[in-house]
């Protein structure tokens, strides 16, 4: 059914259906906007769901005052075309984004008023992914069908926005809370239209500021816990029939809230919440039938609108926001639950994941990451082995021409083959350890001058004591060893022996470890994984 209205002298009559299930309630070429009623043929309901969609170059774009004025002219078409309606909720859409939600009731004469919590800017999500599937038309956003009563209720925690974050900062700074610039900021948000009209008329603005000062104090006095709701947008990909869920693109690691335009302030202009465990939200679990129904509800002209909205239950760290000195403040938050919504009104949940279930998600994600890391390591090791295998003969030839010191260093080192590495000499190693003031990594040939585990003296290189911890083998007397470890030198009078603590040790079968100086032995050891 096509509805018609007249915006007194301003809006032209229009009878253009926007989409198959949408009804155009009003349109204006001069204001470059349209008002749609959701619900298709059954759009007329006790509570109307309306959308005012402004074109990019609409003269009313970004001007809530003008938009409100136009909304209040919807009384005529509503009362004439839908006598069953007793309330309406209207969402303003500018450039595909919701910029405000307004409500009106028949009892109040169909006068629209802003719903404050929904009128703040949406959070900006970093690393926001682009949708992998084709999207619906740029505007208006698709209609979501009636609420599903079986779904759990929305989370009760306060939704975090710029002013909720600001309130947490100003809680401990009453002077800044009462600063004129802060009050002007609040007035520009709370009494947007009035402030915008009167901001340059200091006398007329005073009553608005006084009102703002009073109700900002009330706003700050509200009790606030550490658990908040953070709303963010996500894109779901093609349904995964094995995992029985819609996978969701990476949600990033943080959300940020910017100060609304255009008041200069002393308070932070940007709040960032770094989110732990957000990576546990990897999909929207759903039975195939249910998923199909959801997809069909969101299909327009053959394309599924894959944008959904998430309300994250987040526990903020107790320390509060910490400023960086550049106008930005950051806090760490841990995600403890998530509710999926079809649109940014966050009214009709698709699914809620509570704390207990979310803990399982978190554990599953940790297990997935660990498994992925293990597989990656396994893959890398195999690739490395294959590389070594292909280069075996070439490496043996290259090592054959190198001095014994280079060969032995390669045998005991855990790195790749290098013709530039040598065994360490005691004098250079002592100098390096003393100058750096800390133990230095070395690879050394050592002949023990005693037996045991701790501070065993050496015949070679002398003035060195070797210590080995479990599970490395105990040292035997007069035995040659190839040792990799950390060498330190006590800063004491005289000439104290250097201390070498072994991290890896090879017991040599021949003097000076000649048994492991064979290039083929070295290369095959690395090939076997002992690199």
């Amino acid at each position: 059914m096509i509805q018609r209205i007249v915006f007194a002298g301003v809006l032209a009559l229009a009878t253009v259906p926007a989409y198959a299930n949408d009804t155009v309630l009003a349109t204006s070429k001069s204001h470059k906007l349209q008002v749609f009623a959701d619900g298709g043929a059954t759009w007329c309901a006790p509570t109307l769901r309306l959308r005012m969609v402004l074109e990019a170059d609409s003269p009313d774009a970004g001007n809530p005052g003008a938009q409100l004025e136009l909304m209040n002219r919807l009384k005529t078409p509503i009362t004439s075309d839908c006598k069953a309606a007793s309330a309406a909720e209207l969402t303003v859409i500018e450039q595909g984004r919701s910029t405000g939600i307004y409500k009106a009731a028949a009892a109040a004469g169909w006068v629209f008023a802003a719903a404050p919590a929904a009128s703040v800017p949406q959070p900006v999500v970093t690393q926001a992914p682009t949708p992998s599937a084709p999207q619906g038309p740029a505007s208006p956003p698709p209609v979501v069908q009636a609420p599903q009563p079986a779904m759990p209720a929305a989370p009760q925690a306060a939704e975090l926005d710029y002013f909720e974050a600001l309130a947490r900062v100003l809680r401990d700074n009453p002077a800044l809370a009462q600063d004129d610039s802060t009050i002007r900021l609040w007035a520009s948000h709370r009494y947007e239209r009035e402030y915008s009209q009167l901001q340059h008329q200091e006398f007329k603005l005073q009553p608005v500021l006084q009102r703002a000062r009073a109700d900002f104090a009330d706003y700050l006095a509200r009790p606030r816990g550490n658990v908040v709701t953070i709303a963010t947008r996500a894109y779901f990909r093609t349904y995964d029939f094995n995992a029985r869920r819609f996978p969701i693109d990476d949600l990033g690691t943080q959300v940020s809230y910017q100060k609304p335009c255009c008041v200069s302030v002393k308070v932070p202009t940007n709040f960032v919440v770094k989110l732990q465990d957000l990576d546990a939200v990897t999909g929207l679990p759903m039975d195939p039938a249910e998923a199909q129904a959801l997809a069909e509800r969101r299909t327009r002209y053959g394309s599924i609108n894959r944008t959904i909205y998430l309300a994250l239950t987040v526990r903020l760290e107790a320390g509060g926001f910490k400023g960086d000195g550049w106008g930005s403040s950051t806090i760490l938050g841990t995600v403890e639950g998530v509710t999926f919504y079809p649109d940014d009104r966050l009214l009709e949940p698709i699914l809620t994941i509570g704390a207990e279930e979310f803990a399982r998600w978190r554990a599953n994600r940790a297990a997935e990451l660990a498994e992925a890391a293990r597989l990656a390591e396994q893959r890398e090791a195999e690739q490395h082995r294959q590389r070594w295998l292909a280069q075996r003969e070439q490496n043996i030839r290259a090592l054959s021409g190198a001095p014994s010191s280079v060969r032995l260093a390669n045998y005991i080192s855990d790195g790749d083959l290098s013709l530039y590495t040598r065994l360490s000499d005691l004098r250079s190693a002592r100098a390096a350890a003393l100058m750096s003031g800390k133990p230095v990594p070395v690879a050394m040939l050592v002949q023990s001058d005693g037996a045991g585990r701790s501070k065993v003296a050496s015949k070679w290189p002398g003035k060195l004591e070797l210590t080995v911890a479990d599970p490395l083998p105990e040292l035997a007397a007069s035995q040659w060893y190839l040792v990799r470890g950390l060498l330190s030198v006590p800063e004491a009078e005289g000439l104290p022996p250097a201390q070498l603590t072994a991290q890896a040790i090879h017991i040599c079968a021949q003097p000076k470890c000649a048994d492991v100086a064979d290039p083929a032995v070295i290369i095959d050891r690395k090939l076997a994984g002992g690199r």
């Binding site: 014994s404 010191s405 032995l408 040598r422 065994l423 360490s424 000499d425 005691l426 004098r427 250079s428 190693a429 002592r430 100098a431 003393l434 100058m435 003031g437 050394m444 040939l445 070679w460 290189p461 002398g462 003035k463 800063e491 005289g494 000439l495 000076k512």
Partner: protein
């Protein structure tokens, strides 16, 4: 008799007290004068930030001893000297003609110096690797110009703990007072005017310098401590198969070509090579009947020796362990 004896004792006692008091007064005065001179020298040369001392005492005979001396470098590390004695000072006008400086309990903090450098040089790394985190010992140096004999003598000796000792004496003749005056006058200008002025000094004194003759050179070094350390802390990453090859300091044929008898040349080379290989003491002492002109025919481009073998032969030096 007893009264006379008592009178003599009292007289002697009074004389002793007067002499003691006079000595104390003279010492106090000498200390005050020395402090003024040293502090004035440090201030005039902008050295107060780099040089400091805890105490100073001077004797009426011209020596001054500074204790607790610190020589700070720009990087912050400080050389400390327990006791620095300046003695045997002789002046002629404002010209220094003789001085002796002895430093006892001197300490050079090598490790602290290295830690303040981004890339410590090789010698410093080597010393620290050998365990010389600081060098401690004593150093003595003296300089004396004898105007009558137109000769200048420089002597030095030192003993660095766990490293070695040295003793050296160098005496040069044919350095007349006029040349000294020129060097003094022009070096003061050079210090103020910089490098080009220094070249001017060399030019003005150049002719006189070509007449210089070496009367005596005697150098003795004992590096036993250094070799002991080197043996204890090897710089080899693997045990060597045999004795390490050490390059000869020179070819004995060069000594023969320079005029030394072949048998003596072989002994000289063996002595030096042995010292290079094993360390220990080595003394090189000239044996000149007459002073040896440093430049033949007063020509600055014709030095009497231009190599170690040439020096050994020209100065008829004896080398011994």
């Amino acid at each position: 008799m007893a009264a006379q004896k008592n009178k003599a004792l009292i007289t002697a006692g009074v004389a002793l007290i007067v002499i003691g008091a006079g000595w104390m007064f003279a010492k106090h005065q000498a200390t005050a004068i020395a402090k003024d001179r040293i502090d004035g020298f440090l201030i005039r040369n902008n050295l107060t930030a780099q040089v400091s001392y805890q105490d100073l005492s001077a004797s009426p005979f011209g020596s001054a001893t500074l204790s607790g001396v610190k020589l700070a470098s720009s990087s912050g590390s400080a050389v400390s000297i327990g006791s620095l004695e300046i003695s045997d000072v002789e002046m002629k006008g404002d010209q220094l003609r003789a001085v002796r400086i002895s430093a006892e309990k001197a300490e050079v903090p090598l490790l602290a110096m290295a830690r303040q450098q981004r890339n410590p040089d090789k010698v410093l790394r080597e010393a620290i690797g050998l365990g010389y985190t600081s060098l401690t010992g004593s150093v003595d140096a003296s300089l004396r110009y004898d105007e009558q004999k137109a000769a200048i003598a420089f002597e030095t000796s030192g003993d660095i703990r766990d490293l070695g000792t040295w003793r050296a004496k160098l005496r040069v003749t044919n350095l007349d007072a006029a040349t000294i005056n020129t060097l003094y006058a022009q070096s003061n200008n050079a210090a103020q005017l910089g490098g080009l002025a220094l070249l001017g000094v060399m030019g003005q004194a150049g002719e006189a310098l070509t007449r210089l003759s070496l009367a005596e050179a005697d150098v003795a070094i004992d590096n036993s401590g250094l070799f002991k350390r080197a043996n204890e802390i090897t710089d080899h990453d693997m045990p060597s198969e045999g004795a390490a090859e050490v390059a000869s300091a020179f070819d004995e044929r060069e000594l023969v070509r320079a005029g030394m008898a072949p048998s003596e040349a072989a002994i000289t080379r063996n002595t030096v090579d042995n010292w290079l290989r094993k360390g220990g003491s080595l003394r090189v002492a000239s044996n000149l009947g007459q002073p040896l002109p440093l430049f033949r025919g007063g020509n600055i481009f014709a030095p009497s020796f231009d190599s170690l073998p040439g020096f050994l032969v020209a100065t008829k030096s004896r080398i011994s362990n």
